[in-house]
């Protein structure tokens, strides 16, 4: 599986943004936390986790997909959706379309969420991965629409859903539309739940705002990567407003686990196997006699619009 990480050319994009590893001569990577150098081949073999201090570097959506799917199995859905400019938004001399164009160029992605179907060691599933490099993976209309379409396809094709989420917050440039994506995506998940298909949410660094307060935290299983920062309000906002010093480790994955907010923390090298195990359990349950055959939930599924 480690080899997969380098094998899919379409999804090998260099990491972008503030967390990008410094690679002095393309052979060594310097860890921003422990300052140790790691030989770049080892760094890739370790799935971009510092072998010294376990710091999990941020990954691009493409790297995530490579890491969690069988080679060549990922079939992208709705790749053609791109941001509109419903508010005619401009700030500081830059229009929203300009900002989107810059984001596309920098990230190599067309929007902040990539969705599709894939296989994990043969197991079929639906996958949605946020691209933090695209405007901080803020949840705009395209993010919401692509996720909802993916959920609807998962229901149609009876696929379990895995989401990998990261977000800096709202897409200010689509203000009310951005806000409503929280309701829209969560409503779609209510239907996934009525169809009794599982949603496994993976939260990776950083995950804040509307994404945390909507589809991710009502998942059936919530997994976080070690050290990931996860919360509703950002730490600087809280510090400014409350004028209190934040507790040690505040909003880390470990803090959330202790406070009962996530199911487990999975180091990156165990994540794929953990998801595979979970998918097996849900697939097995689907064939069991105690599965409700009908009832209120099922009848709602058959409503006129469905």
């Amino acid at each position: 599986m480690r080899e997969l990480f380098r094998r899919q050319p379409r999804f090998t994009v260099e990491p972008q943004g503030e967390d990008s590893p410094v690679v002095p001569d393309d052979l060594w990577v310097k860890c921003p936390r422990c300052r140790e150098l790691t030989y770049s081949r080892e760094f890739e073999r370790e799935l971009r986790v510092c072998p010294r201090c376990n710091h999990h570097f941020r990954l691009t959506a493409a790297q995530r997909i490579a890491m969690l799917t069988d080679p060549g199995s990922f079939v992208e859905w709705d790749a053609g959706l791109e941001a509109a400019d419903p508010l005619g938004f401009a700030a500081g001399g830059e229009s929203y379309p300009d900002k989107v164009a810059t984001a596309k160029r920098k990230s190599g992605a067309r929007e902040a969420l990539i969705t599709g179907s894939a296989r994990l060691d043969g197991r079929p599933f639906a996958l949605a991965v946020a691209e933090f490099g695209f405007m901080g993976a803020s949840m705009g209309s395209v993010f919401g629409e692509k996720l909802v379409r993916a959920i609807e396809r998962a229901i149609e094709q009876e696929l379990p859903l895995v989401t990998v989420s990261s977000s800096g917050g709202a897409r200010m440039q689509e203000s009310p539309f951005s806000l409503m994506q929280m309701a829209k995506t969560t409503a779609a998940l209510a239907r996934l739940g009525e169809a009794r298909l599982p949603h496994i949410a993976v939260l990776v660094d950083p995950c804040y705002g509307g994404v945390t307060a909507s589809y991710t935290t009502v998942a059936d299983v919530i997994i976080a990567e070690p050290g990931a920062m996860i919360g509703f309000a950002g730490p600087r906002v809280i510090e400014q407003i409350t004028r209190q010093k934040l507790p040690e480790g505040f909003q880390t994955a470990e803090f959330l686990l202790e406070h009962g907010m996530i199911d487990l923390i999975a180091p990156r090298r165990t994540l794929r196997a953990k998801i595979a195990t979970l998918l097996d359990h849900y697939a097995l349950a689907r064939r069991q006699p105690a599965r409700r055959t009908a009832g209120a939930a099922a009848s709602a599924q058959e409503a006129p619009d469905a």
Binding site: G80, M180, M182, K184, F232, A233, I238
Partner: protein, 291 residues
């Protein structure tokens, strides 16, 4: 009310402390109101008011953000910013509404969910998310009215509904204009510009198809509180009656209600779509919404 009020002027009206608040609507519109407290888990949040009562001949559950009218009251009620236990009290009352077939009326008036250490520790995010999930499939007619500030996820957590109404001078946005200005202009004093740019007014939201009706304020609500409250009551009654007509036949009607509610949110969003990216990789494409 002159059409010419700026977005920022409306923001200030929406925040006017003399404007009627949830408790005023409850006092005038709900008879036999019994306030129900607590989340059964941790606390009773004074920033979120809830209970049961009779609204024009029907038993209803009411929830709403509770702001004060002066500083002391605002300190007591945390400026209408709920903590997780507030959203969990609301969730409990939503489930109560569903169990007993009582329509849900929500009054929205909050700067947002409280950002704080305790709120993060007790799961502000998941508390909001669970309400969004519950409201999406609550088997009872639901009407939300934005009466003042509709601030972000903290407002949304009680306002996913079959019908969303907005007072003319209410606002609804993904973040406060101040926060938006601080992020985009690195200058919070640019809030008036941000308010205009973010399109936060009732007219904007109605134009986007997010809000179902704008309730006029011929004069600002705080100058005619009683009439405003009655006008809001009339609008709620009209929408509730329509929704009740849909569910006359019980479960089938409720299924249809839920399907319509889903489609209402399903449609929200604007994007550009290449119908066949392999053929037109860079070609011009029309702007879409789903409806």
């Amino acid at each position: 009310m002159p059409e010419t009020l700026s977005a920022w002027e409306r923001v200030l009206l929406a925040r006017n402390p003399a404007r009627p608040h949830t408790q005023d609507y409850v006092a005038d519109l709900i008879s036999g109101f019994v306030e129900l407290h607590g989340d059964r888990r941790f606390g009773d949040d004074p920033a979120l008011l809830g209970g049961i009562g009779t609204f024009r001949g029907r038993a209803v559950v009411v929830v709403g953000h509770r702001k004060g009218s002066n500083t002391q009251e605002n300190l007591t009620h945390n400026f209408g910013m709920p903590r997780p236990e507030g959203y969990r009290k609301a969730l409990r009352l939503m489930q109560h509404a569903e169990k007993f077939g009582m329509p849900l009326i929500a009054f929205v008036d909050t700067p947002g969910a409280e950002p704080g250490i305790g709120s993060e520790e007790r799961g502000q995010a998941v508390a909001i998310a669970e309400n969004l999930l519950a409201l999406a499939s609550l088997r009872v007619p639901t009407v939300a009215v934005v009466i003042g500030e509709g601030g972000s996820g903290g407002a949304l957590a009680i306002s996913v509904a079959d019908r969303i109404l907005m007072l003319e001078n209410a606002i609804y946005a993904v973040a406060s204009p101040e926060a938006c200005a601080a992020i985009l202009w690195k200058d919070a004093t640019k809030a008036p510009e941000a308010a205009a740019t973010m399109r936060v007014t009732a007219a904007d939201l109605y134009g986007f198809g997010i809000v179902d009706e704008v309730i006029p304020e011929p004069v600002p609500a705080h100058e005619q509180p009683t009439q405003t409250i009655q006008r809001v009551g009339d609008a709620i009654e009209r929408h509730l009656s329509e929704l009740e007509a849909m569910v006359q036949d019980g479960d089938a009607g409720l299924d249809a209600l839920l399907a319509a509610r889903y489609q209402k949110y399903r449609r929200i969003g604007r994007w550009v779509e290449e119908t066949d990216p392999t053929r037109h990789p860079n070609g011009p494409v029309p702007s879409h919404t789903a409806d």
